[in-house]
C-alpha cells in the first residue's frame, strides 16, 4: 500500500443504516466501508481512480441515541420524470412534502470518530497524464487544506463529517473502552456492485482491538 492514506473523521452524530432496519433506521455499530468511501470521494475523486477501504479504526465509545423526525414517504416516479423530459415541461414534476409525511424513528450513533485507512487504484479510464503520485498529492493537498467537492457526511446528509489528514500517520489516541474493542458486528454491507445489476456485497465484519479490517471487493470473504 504505497499510496495509502489515513483520514481522521469525526462528528456529533452518525447513522450508518442497516439494510434490514432502514425504514425505522438502526445504525451499524461502526462506519461502513461504503460510507468511508463516500467521505474520501467527497474530498477527491476522478474517473481515473477507484478508492478501496482497507480498515476503519474506531476512536470513540460506541453510543446510541434515538430520535424521531418527519420524512417524506414517496418519491417521484421515474415515469413522471420521463414524461416531463419528453414534454420539456416540469409543471407536473413535483412532490408536496406536506402530503407525504412519514414519521420515522432512527437509532443513531452519537459522538463518533474514526480513522479511515484506504488506498486507491488507477482505473482503465486513467489517461497518460494520470499517475498515482499525482492523485495522491492532490488528495493530500485537498484534505490538508480542508477542501471538498461536497460536505462529507457520516452516513446521512444531516450529519456532516469533520476531517483531518493524518500526514505523519500517527492516529489520535483511541478512547474505545476495552469491552468494546473486540466484537462481532455481523454481516455488513461492503458496497454496491453497480456494474453487476446493483448487487449488494456483504462481508463478515468484526472489531479486533478497535480496528475493523475490510476485505478487498473481489476477495473470497465477500458474498453477494
Amino acid at each position: 500500500m504505497a499510496y495509502g492514506v489515513k483520514l481522521h473523521v469525526w462528528g456529533d452524530r452518525a447513522c450508518f443504516t442497516r439494510p434490514e432496519m432502514k425504514v425505522e433506521r438502526v445504525s451499524y455499530d461502526v462506519m461502513t466501508p461504503s460510507a468511508a468511501r463516500g467521505i474520501l470521494e467527497a474530498i477527491h475523486w476522478k474517473p481515473a481512480i477507484r478508492w478501496a477501504i482497507d480498515a476503519i479504526e474506531v476512536l470513540k465509545p460506541i453510543r446510541f441515541q434515538s430520535i424521531r423526525r418527519n420524512e417524506v414517504g414517496s418519491r417521484v416516479p421515474t415515469a413522471a420524470v420521463r414524461k416531463a423530459m419528453k414534454a420539456d415541461a416540469v409543471e407536473d414534476l413535483r412532490m408536496v412534502v406536506e402530503e407525504n409525511r412519514q414519521q420515522r424513528a432512527a437509532t443513531l450513533l452519537v459522538d463518533v470518530a474514526y480513522v479511515i485507512h484506504a488506498h486507491f487504484e488507477l482505473t482503465e479510464r486513467a489517461g497518460p497524464g494520470d499517475s498515482e503520485a499525482k492523485h495522491l498529492s492532490m488528495f493530500n493537498r485537498r484534505a490538508a487544506s480542508g477542501q471538498c467537492f461536497q460536505q462529507p457526511c457520516l452516513g446521512v446528509r444531516e450529519f456532516p463529517a469533520n476531517f483531518a489528514l493524518l500526514e505523519d500517520g500517527v492516529a489520535p489516541v483511541s478512547e474505545l473502552p476495552p469491552d468494546q474493542r473486540d466484537r462481532d458486528l455481523g454481516w455488513m454491507l461492503l458496497d454496491i456492485d453497480h456494474a453487476n445489476d446493483m448487487t449488494s456485497l456483504f462481508f463478515r465484519a468484526a472489531l479486533r482491538d478497535g480496528v475493523m479490517a475490510v476485505p478487498p471487493l473481489n476477495s473470497v470473504e465477500v458474498r453477494s
Binding site: 442497516r18 434490514e20 425504514v23 438502526v26 453510543r63 434515538s66 407525504n100 437509532t107 455481523g186 463478515r204
Partner: protein
C-alpha cells in the same frame, strides 16, 4: 451480534425446548386424529383435545404450515385439513345439513397423490390407499359424526407411537418431513446471501408480523418492512432490499413473538417501550432462566404485600445496589451468561428498535446497581427498589403512563442498562412537573440527584457528588436556597397552619428559577410568621427557625442569584427535599408506601 441474528439464535433455544414449531411448520388447532391401518382403513377416530378452563378444545399442534386461502380454487394443506378437504364433506351453516364438497376433496387428493407419489413409507402409503378407498357413504360406518366436520383432522398410522407412548402423526414421520422440506423449498423465491446467516438461501419477500408490542396494531407490526417506495433502494423490491432467508425470517419472527407473548416472563412494558430480554444458554438452560427472572425483578421489583415481604425483597436485591458481584445474589447463575435486551416501540404498522443491548449478565446487574446507587436519597421514598415505570411516571402530567414523553422511556432504559448519562429531557421533565405544582416528593428529588450525579461522574467537568441526606455544610447556593425555601415554608405552616395557597404552592417555580426576584419578599414575609410564633405558644420553635435561616444565609456568600440553570434547579429541589423531610423518615416512607399501593403496573 445483530438483533435478528440473536433472535434467530434464541429460536434455536426455544426449538430445543419444543416451544416453537420448526421452519415450514405452524401451530394449528387440531381436533381429531384419523387412525389408519396399513391398508388405508380408518380404524378409529381419536379426539385430540386440551383442557382450557372448563371445556375441552382442539389442541394446538405443530403441523405443516398453513397459508391464506383467498380466491375460489380450493387449495389443501399437507397431511391435515378440515372435513371439507379430508373427507369431502361439510355442514351447511344455515340448514345444518351435511353437504358434499367434491372440489375441496379433489384438491386434497391431488396434492397428496402428487407429493406422495412413489413413497415407500408405510404411513404415507396408507394415506394414499385411504384416499383411493374413501367415499362419502362410508362416513357413519367409520365412526365420523357431523359435529367433527368443521374441525381439523390429521392422521396417524395404527400403533405408531414414540418411546414415551405418545402418538406419532403422519407429518412427524421422517419421510413426510423430507417430502415437505422439498415442497417448501420448491415454492421459495429468489436466492441470495442471507444477512443473518451469511448463507445463500431463498430470500423472504415479506417478513413475519410481530404481535404483542404495546400500542402497535393488534394484527401485528413488522420490524423489517418496505411499505413505501421511499424506503426501497436501487430498484429492489420488498425483502430484497434487506436479504434475509425465509428460514431466518421465520426463526426471528417465531422467537420474538414467543418473547412478546403475554405472560412469557421475558417482557416488560415501560412507557412506550416494550422491552424483551433473554439469555443465551452458554451457562446452561437453568442459569439462563434464572438470569431472565432476576432481570425482570431488577427493573420492576415485585410489589411487596407487607413489611416482611418488603424486607425479604430488599435483602435479595441489596447486594445489587451495593455493587456486589452477581454470584452473591444468585450463586447458581453463570456470570458469563450473555444477555440480550431489545426495546421496541410501535410506529403504526412498523416497529422501531429503541435500544439494543448485548452484554454479560454480571455487567448488566452491576449497571442496574449503579443506577440505584445514583438514585439513593434520604429519607428513602420507596421500600424496596424503584421500578423504572415508577420513575417515569413522575415525569408525566397527572402521573399517567400515557403522558410520558415518547422516546423518554427508551432513552432512560438505555441509560440504565449501558451506564451512560440519563437523557437531558429526564431532568427537565421532572423540574417542569415540580414547577407546575406537582408535589416535590422523594422520587422526583432522587431523579434529580441521579441525573446530576451521573453527569458529574461521566462529564469532563468533575463536580462533587450530591449528598444522599441533608448536608448542613453544603456550600452550593442552589442547594442552600432549596433548604431555605423549605425552612420558610415550615415557618409559615407552623405560624398559620394549613393555608389555601402556601408559599410552596405559589412560589416554588419562581424561587427555583429566579431566586433574586422572590427570596427577599419571602424573607420579609417570614418575619411576620416568626413574630407570630414568638408571641404565640411556640417561642422555641420560632427561635429554631430563626437560627436555621441564619445558618443557611450565612453560607450564601454573595446574595441571591438572579437565575439558576436547570442543573441548579435540580439541586434546589434536592435541598428542599432534604430540609423538608430530614428526620421524618417514617412519615415520608408511609406516604411512599401509600402511593406504591395505589398504583399498579399495567
Amino acid at each position: 451480534m445483530t438483533v435478528l441474528a440473536a433472535l434467530n439464535g434464541y429460536y434455536g433455544r426455544l426449538a430445543d425446548r419444543g416451544e416453537v414449531p420448526p421452519f415450514g411448520y405452524s401451530t394449528e388447532r387440531i381436533a381429531h386424529i384419523i387412525v389408519l391401518s396399513p391398508d388405508g382403513e380408518p380404524v378409529e377416530i381419536l379426539p385430540w383435545q386440551s383442557l382450557s378452563g372448563k371445556k375441552s378444545e382442539p389442541r394446538p399442534t405443530a403441523v405443516p404450515q398453513s397459508f391464506k386461502r383467498p380466491g375460489t380454487t380450493p387449495r389443501s394443506f399437507f397431511l391435515w385439513d378440515n372435513g371439507k378437504f379430508v373427507l369431502g364433506l361439510g355442514v351447511d351453516k344455515v340448514t345444518r345439513q351435511r353437504v358434499a364438497h367434491p372440489a375441496n376433496h379433489a384438491a386434497f387428493q391431488e396434492l397428496h397423490r402428487r407429493l406422495l407419489a412413489g413413497t415407500e413409507d408405510a404411513g404415507l402409503a396408507a394415506l394414499l390407499r385411504f384416499l383411493d378407498g374413501w367415499s362419502a357413504d362410508r362416513f357413519d360406518a367409520c365412526g365420523f359424526t357431523d359435529a367433527m366436520l368443521d374441525q381439523n383432522f390429521m392422521f396417524m398410522l395404527d400403533g405408531d407411537r414414540n418411546d414415551r407412548g405418545e402418538p406419532r402423526f403422519l407429518h412427524d414421520r421422517t419421510a413426510a418431513r423430507r417430502i415437505w422440506e422439498r415442497a417448501v423449498a420448491e415454492g421459495a423465491g429468489e436466492e441470495g446471501i442471507c444477512l443473518v446467516t451469511g448463507a445463500r438461501q431463498p430470500i423472504a419477500r415479506l417478513h413475519p408480523a410481530i404481535k404483542g408490542v404495546m400500542d402497535a396494531q393488534s394484527s401485528g407490526a413488522s420490524i423489517v418492512s418496505f411499505n413505501n417506495d421511499a424506503f426501497t433502494s436501487y430498484g429492489k423490491e420488498q425483502g430484497l432490499n434487506a436479504p434475509v432467508s425465509e428460514a431466518a425470517a421465520f426463526g426471528y419472527g417465531a422467537a420474538l413473538n414467543a418473547l412478546l407473548a403475554r405472560g412469557s416472563g421475558n417482557r416488560l412494558v415501560i412507557g412506550d417501550a416494550t422491552t424483551v430480554f433473554w439469555a443465551d444458554t452458554s451457562g446452561g438452560e437453568e442459569s439462563a432462566q434464572r438470569a431472565e427472572v432476576l432481570f425482570h425483578d431488577l427493573l420492576s421489583p415485585p410489589a411487596a404485600e407487607d413489611a416482611d415481604e418488603a424486607q425479604a425483597i430488599r435483602n435479595a436485591l441489596l447486594p445489587v445496589s451495593q455493587g456486589r458481584p452477581v454470584r452473591e445474589i444468585a450463586p447458581e447463575l453463570d456470570e458469563r451468561t450473555r444477555f440480550y435486551v431489545l426495546g421496541l416501540s410501535p410506529n403504526i404498522a412498523r416497529l422501531s428498535v429503541r435500544f439494543w443491548l448485548e452484554d454479560s449478565f454480571a455487567a448488566i446487574a452491576e449497571r442496574v446497581g449503579r443506577h440505584w446507587e445514583d438514585l439513593r436519597i434520604d429519607p428513602a421514598p420507596w421500600r424496596t427498589a424503584p421500578a423504572v415505570w415508577m420513575l417515569l411516571r413522575e415525569t408525566a402530567p397527572l402521573g399517567k403512563t400515557e403522558n410520558i414523553a415518547p422516546q423518554l422511556a427508551g432513552e432512560v432504559m438505555r441509560a440504565i442498562l449501558t451506564g451512560g448519562r440519563y437523557p437531558r429531557s429526564l431532568l427537565a421533565a421532572v423540574i417542569i412537573r415540580m414547577r407546575a405544582g406537582d408535589p416535590v416528593n422523594g422520587v422526583k428529588a432522587a431523579i434529580c440527584r441521579a441525573c446530576l450525579n451521573r453527569d458529574s461522574r461521566l462529564g469532563t467537568k468533575k463536580t462533587e457528588e450530591i449528598p444522599v441526606s441533608l448536608n448542613r455544610d453544603e456550600a452550593n447556593p442552589a442547594y442552600r436556597l432549596g433548604r431555605l425555601f423549605a425552612v420558610l415554608e415550615g415557618a409559615q405552616r407552623a405560624a398559620l397552619g394549613d393555608v389555601n395557597a402556601s408559599i410552596r404552592d405559589r412560589y416554588f417555580g419562581a424561587a427555583s428559577a429566579t431566586p433574586a426576584s422572590v427570596f427577599p419578599m419571602l424573607l420579609r414575609n417570614s418575619n411576620h410568621h416568626l413574630a407570630v410564633l414568638r408571641k404565640g405558644d411556640k417561642p422555641r420553635l420560632g427561635g429554631w427557625f430563626e437560627g436555621e435561616i441564619g445558618q443557611i444565609l450565612g453560607g450564601l456568600d454573595s446574595g441571591f442569584p438572579r437565575s439558576l440553570r436547570i442543573e441548579d434547579q435540580g439541586r434546589f429541589a434536592i435541598g428542599y427535599y432534604h430540609q423538608r423531610y430530614s428526620g421524618k423518615a417514617a412519615a415520608s416512607t408511609e406516604q411512599a408506601v401509600a402511593t406504591e399501593q395505589t398504583v399498579s403496573e399495567d
